[in-house]
Amino acid sequence: MKKLLTAFVGSMALAAAPVAMSAEANKELKMAYDADPVTLDIHEQLSGGILQLSHMTFDPLVRWNKELGFDGRLAESWERIDENTMRFKLREGVKFHSGNELTTKDVQFTFNRLKQSQDFKAIFKPFSGINVIDDYTFELVTSEPYPLLLNTATYIFPLDSEFYSGKTEDGQAKDAIVKHGKSFASTNMSGTGPFTVASRQQGVRVEFERFDDYWDTESPGNVGKIVLTPIKENNTRVSALLSGGVDFVAPVPPTDLERIRNDKNSALVTMSGTRIILFHMNQERVEAFKNPKVRQAIAHAINQEGIAAKIMKGFATPAAQMSPEGYQGHNPSLAPRFDVAKAQELMKEAGYEDGFTITMMAPNNRYVNDAKIAQAVAAMLARINITVDLKTLPKAQYWPEYDNRAADMMMIGWHADTEDSANFFEFLTFCPDADSGSGQYNAGNYCNPELDALVEKANVETDLDKRAAMLQEVEQRLYDEAAFIPLHWQDLAWASKKNVQIEPILNVMNFPYLGDLVVE
């Protein structure tokens, strides 16, 4: 009897082995983000949520890895042909969800659509065109040498050109990008990604199913189904994880980090992020801010480390520049310079010993602890006799005020879409110019054409070492002149149940590569 049983078990194990191999992706993952994707059209809006969706249902030509290098995805290889041209070789045998096969025709279609998209066209401005060589070879051409070509290629998620061509029943072009109202692309999709959208109830839940013909058969990912529920309320999101209702949540608010760390069933992953939080000092509104000494005094009066430790509970990296570590422009010699005595002295030298009164505005639901940070900064400025009249607003009301430059000091957080330092300068410190759109968010009106020229020069420098030196010099000069007050880079945090191996698939861009997720 015992023998028989052993034989039976043995044969069962043998029989089970191949089954286990083929039914690999059979785990279900329930996850909760603070929001669900606003649309299924990945060219309709450039936002973190849409990019997260793109990485689930599409694949880019190349994607960022943890070390901020590039991994080829749909592009198998690439080489620079000349200063303005990069030639890509496309992976063969890749299938779209519709069953169509991926060729350069789809890449060309996607590239042209990106150039039309109101949100993406700015990123693709340096590109003059795309040359299709054959079904699997194409070249991206820029009008000038462009060092960030590969950075931009991470935004090219090829769309199924056949699927998105033609007209819908009511005569609308299927490839139309519609901001307000429904379009074919906002409710239908066909990509090459690991997941397809099985059902979607906006604002309530989205169900993803693994794509059977996914090209990346080497991916370790074993998740067959994902249910994404948006849970806006921080507390509820964390409770959902702790009570076992979901397996994976993001973002995790700083106040709950300890709670999750102490929970024996949950795992927490944190990373220093790349979003800089800073204050602009409006030189057009306040005469004193034109004086570099006053700006430096403020830079000396703010205790970045204190804010990061006390208000952010260690959930932030104190900053003295905009470029985070890993970016080309990151200048390692710059450190926060908190010194109240020095600050008071600088105010005296500038002739503002008695101080002055300013207005300050900050959002109260956009960045982590934004309103508290603003209060702390206001209190710190009081020590050098600057009286602050602070107003905090919900983000929906804050941004119109920001566009009007409605206060003397205004808070903004910025993440570089290109994962590159130049993007910070272009939007936040370039001389504001309504016609060219540069300095669009420079609420300080700081203007130094010399530095702008240096950044422009760096933007056509393909020797990356030389380029890094230029960008670092810009950071140094902005620091010396105290063009703005950097506070910190906001950290990122995700949490999951212990059996969900999220660590390998996370990165500072906050695009979890869920296709590769392993659930034990």
């Binding site: 949100d119 529920t229 509820t236 209702g245």
Partner: protein, 349 residues
């Protein structure tokens, strides 16, 4: 009756008109919808083009007339976020809110009547005093706190190890104070039954009912104490009245006196207050739905505000206005049924 209904319908139209004007007038203060629809790095030029296309640059009066023209044809505009007609969006979310409200109302009904009547009949009993004490505490705890405490106790679970675990009594106390958790803490779950149209119900599956428990208790917690106290006070008054005394003297069964004759008259003011409280209920569903990520109109409205989804905000306010008028009408009708001496139109008999 007919005159009454006509009067009410014209009132409803007036209410909705006023709401739409107010909602339109304050939209500038609600923020810039474009901010939510485009990425940060989109240029001002592009934004202007989109604003023009959406008609946001037209004078407010022109925008209102366009809205009103469509509204009389039953078209309340298209939500910026959902990209479809606002009425459809509201109808999709309404069943969840209605089920939450029904769940909470049932809890209120099942607990407030017996407890209220008992506390009125036996005002000196210990149990009555206990109920009154608890209801005072209950009425003063904000609903979101109740919700968070409930989630901690019954979803996540609490382990108490205050008492020595090696003694029998310590263990018992520990386990008596600890909770298992396990109840769903968010959403409605995935076991919904499709009834008709946009109505997917959670009433017909175990999963759906389990998801309803905590939100319904939270929502009920804010109004249950009020109703207990109201019923108790009214009942005590009625018990002093002549006709109850007469019934007693006549030797009727106490149960019959209390629950048939006295309770009937007690319910009159309770119905009135109940009608008024529906407004409060709407306000509290917003809080409850937010805490429990309950996909109803309250949560939808709150998110519409943070997104400056103005068409949806306007449509929601108008629908809520309509609901108010309808419920008040129904309350008045019921009032007439319970007490035939009440005249609906308020004219002389």
């Amino acid at each position: 009756m007919l005159a009454f209904l006509v009067q009410r319908i014209s009132q409803a139209i007036l209410v909705m008109f006023v709401i739409s004007v107010i909602a339109f007038a304050i939209q500038d203060g609600l923020g810039d919808p474009l901010q939510q629809m485009v990425g940060m790095s989109v240029s001002e030029e592009e934004r202007e083009a989109i604003r023009d296309e959406m008609g946001l640059n037209d004078p407010l009066v022109v925008q209102y007339l366009r809205f009103a023209g469509n509204a009389v044809q039953g078209d309340l505009g298209i939500s910026y976020f959902y990209g479809k007609p606002t009425l459809d969006v509201i109808l999709e979310h309404l069943p969840a809110t209605l089920e939450l409200a029904i769940g909470a109302s049932l809890i209120i009904l099942f607990f407030s009547v017996p407890i209220g009547v008992y506390a009125a009949i036996r005002p000196q009993a210990l149990l009555s005093k206990f109920f009154m004490g608890v209801s005072t505490v209950g009425i003063s705890i904000p609903v979101f706190l109740t919700a968070i405490v409930l989630i901690q106790l019954f979803s996540i679970g609490v382990t108490v190890d205050l008492f020595p675990a090696d003694t029998g009594w310590g263990q018992n106390l520990n386990s008596a104070l600890s909770t298992e958790g396990g109840l769903p803490s968010y959403g409605r779950g995935d076991e919904l039954t499709h009834l008709f149209g946009t109505w997917h119900s959670g009433f017909f599956s175990q999963g759906g009912l389990l998801h309803l428990i905590l939100p319904a208790i939270s929502l009920a917690s804010i109004m249950l104490p009020l109703f207990i106290r109201l019923i108790r006070a009214e009942m005590m008054e009625v018990l002093q009245s002549d006709y109850v005394r007469y019934a007693r003297a006549k030797g009727l069964q106490p149960g019959r006196i209390n629950f048939l004759h006295a309770l009937k008259n007690t319910m009159l003011p309770v119905i009135t207050v109940g009608g008024v409280q529906i407004g409060t209920m709407v306000a509290y569903t917003i809080l409850t739905e937010t805490v429990f990520q309950w996909p109803g109109v309250g949560l939808m409205f709150l998110e519409a505000i943070t997104r400056s989804d103005i068409p949806l905000i306007v449509a929601y306010l108008m629908v809520v206005g309509l609901i108010f008028v309808i419920t008040n009408t129904i309350v008045d009708l019921i009032y007439g049924l319970v007490n035939p001496t009440v005249k609906l139109t308020g004219k002389k008999a």
